[in-house]
């Protein structure tokens, strides 16, 4: 299934949905929409080879966790289409990007807009931190660092079975502080897992603030290359750069695309909140109102009427 919009339009749509949602709910993962918009738009709108969704457009309520007593349990991966050998798979490793990921599903016609109304509501499967059963999710990634390893295992298994579909992991740069990320790259390289792809949102922010103030991570490209990956550094707001980056030859090695982004891209007023951008909760009615007017203007929409 191919969306009729351009990826630029999808990226704008993602930001508008996250903005409206955050205004109405007095907070949200706004900065992640700024940094990740183009990457998720490009993945879903152009790059990923996915089948039609297998789950209802309006998400079902929470139906229990996996257990032997819950035989009908399923993950939210059905929003990315069926598990078939030719199709790609995607893990959203930073599960707190869920709001942005759900907005993406809506923009590319894989989930109904009503899905976002269920965000973080009791009894809903559209959870704040994406769970396995949340739309578009396939595994739990809420503990940062486990996504790439799981992707490597799946990719290796699919390679053994001769499946042409790729395994993609959407990553955030903060998780390079976890040692497991480097174990994963080392292992994927050692075993020649070249059907593993990752695109990382290098926005240089983490929960406590700017990454350089929390724990410096050094030259990511050099580190990924030294651990055995092929790594391409691009402007994470330039969709043409993504189109080129994915063609980088990487025989026998995973491909990691570092998408360097601006955490207030398209919403410059968010810079007022630097360095605390992880979750933007408005501190006063004045701030909420000013941001509403400013961001609405930037995104070309009317300010959100959040009074009722």
């Amino acid at each position: 299934m191919r969306n009729k919009k351009t990826s630029e339009e999808v990226a704008l749509g993602i930001r508008r949905r996250v903005f409206e949602h955050s205004m109405r709910n007095n907070g949200g993962y706004l900065s992640q929409a700024c940094s990740a918009g183009e990457q998720l738009a490009w993945l879903y709108n152009e790059e990923l080879k996915l089948g039609d969704p297998t789950l209802p457009m309006i998400p079902k309520p929470f139906e229990g966790v996996p257990s032997a007593d819950n035989p009908n349990y399923h993950t939210g991966a059905g929003y990315n289409g069926p598990f078939e050998p030719q199709y790609d798979r995607l893990f959203i490793a930073p599960a707190h990007y869920a709001l942005v990921a759900y907005a993406t599903l809506i923009e590319v016609g894989r989930m109904a807009p009503e899905g976002l109304e269920m965000f973080n509501k009791d009894g809903s499967s559209v959870e704040m931190i994406g769970a396995e059963h949340s739309p578009g999710m396939e595994v739990h990634n809420g503990t940062l660092g486990i996504g790439l390893s799981t992707g490597a295992g799946l990719a290796y298994g699919r390679k053994l079975k001769g499946e042409p579909g790729r395994t993609w992991v959407y990553m955030s740069d903060g998780e390079v502080q976890e040692g497991q990320t480097w174990e994963a790259v080392q292992g994927a390289s050692f075993h020649g897992i070249d059907n593993l792809y990752a695109i990382m949102d290098v926005n240089r922010q983490q929960c406590d603030g700017a990454m350089d103030s929390v724990m410096e991570v050094g030259d990511l490209k050099a580190k990924f290359q030294n651990f055995g990956a092929v790594c391409v550094d691009i402007d994470g707001h330039d969709i043409n750069a993504m189109r080129d980056a994915v063609n980088e030859p990487h025989d026998g090695k995973p491909l990691i695309i570092l998408a360097n982004t601006n955490p207030f891209h398209s919403m410059p007023i968010l810079e007022e909140r630097f360095p605390r951008l992880h979750y933007v909760r408005f501190k006063s009615e004045d701030e909420r109102s000013r941001m509403n007017v400013s961001i609405a203007k930037d995104l070309g929409v009317e300010p959100v009427d959040y009074s009722h």
């Binding site: 257990s67 993950t75 486990i146 799981t150 295992g153 290796y156 298994g157 292992g187």
Partner: protein, 334 residues
Amino acid sequence: MVEMVSRPYASAFEKFAVGKPEILCLSADLTSSCEVDGFRDRHPDQFLSLGMAEQNMMSFAGGLGLAGFRPFIHTFGVFMYRRPYDQLMASIAYPRRKVRLMGFLPGITTPGGMTHQSIEDISVMRSIPNMTILETGDATEVESICEAADSIDGPVWCRVLRGSVPRLFDTPIKVGEMRVLSEGDDILVVTSGITTEEAMRARSALKEAGLSIRHIHLHTIKPFDHKQLLDHIGSVKHGVVTIENHVTEGGVGSLVAETMADAGVGKRLVRLGLKDTYAHGGSRAYLMRYYGLDALALVGGIEDIMGQKFGITEEDMEAARVDDVHSLVKAEAL
């Protein structure tokens, strides 16, 4: 004299895995120590070296499970749950991946000391939803552990014995059942793993002392057949003694205590095992004596319940086996 079997896991795993391409053998730099070096050499297409990187290995195995494979992870038990506990939870246990966790060196079966001895693994695994727990107590159980583990629709934690292992039983593990080794009516003795052999060593001396022992051996710790245990408890007059190669908190002793408390059973229970303590490095026989996990300790537990001494000494029991520290059946002296 009990028959000793050399490296039963090595041949059992190979026999089990050959011809099953969906079974993968994962190792974390302890391949010969876990007796799968021969398998690695003869079946490299089913073998995956993941190095000393257990966090990645656990999530990677979860990914393999997602792709339809059934990975058997081989390393020392401690290395599979202490450091990569989060990965065990999120990538394996929660999604019920069919990952078979073959944990070697259970409890004090190694002179490697605290860092190598998994003394609280059963407690940890019992509290993980979706986890199944199996423990081997002899060569026949080691030989049948792969089939037993692979019959489970979900993750399985296995305590596996290696090296020179006694053959005590002649039937394979049947998941969910318990072995009834004697059917007396004074005291119920519940054992698992290496403590079963200890209870068997004490059998004739206890009989000599006029005690009628009901002895059951557990290879399936979770899920657990509480009703069957209660029937056995109901068949004895005086009480229950558990003895385990594990801390007494959260292991088999706790399992029995919970079963009794839930059912309102008012009999005495003595739980033997590591008493809220780490162990140190030493031979198995030394550690079992030092920490009270051996036949003599079991006699003491029974005396406690009966309120009398029977004057049983080590000489009255069948000889304890002494493993060579430097043995050809072990890859290293651990």
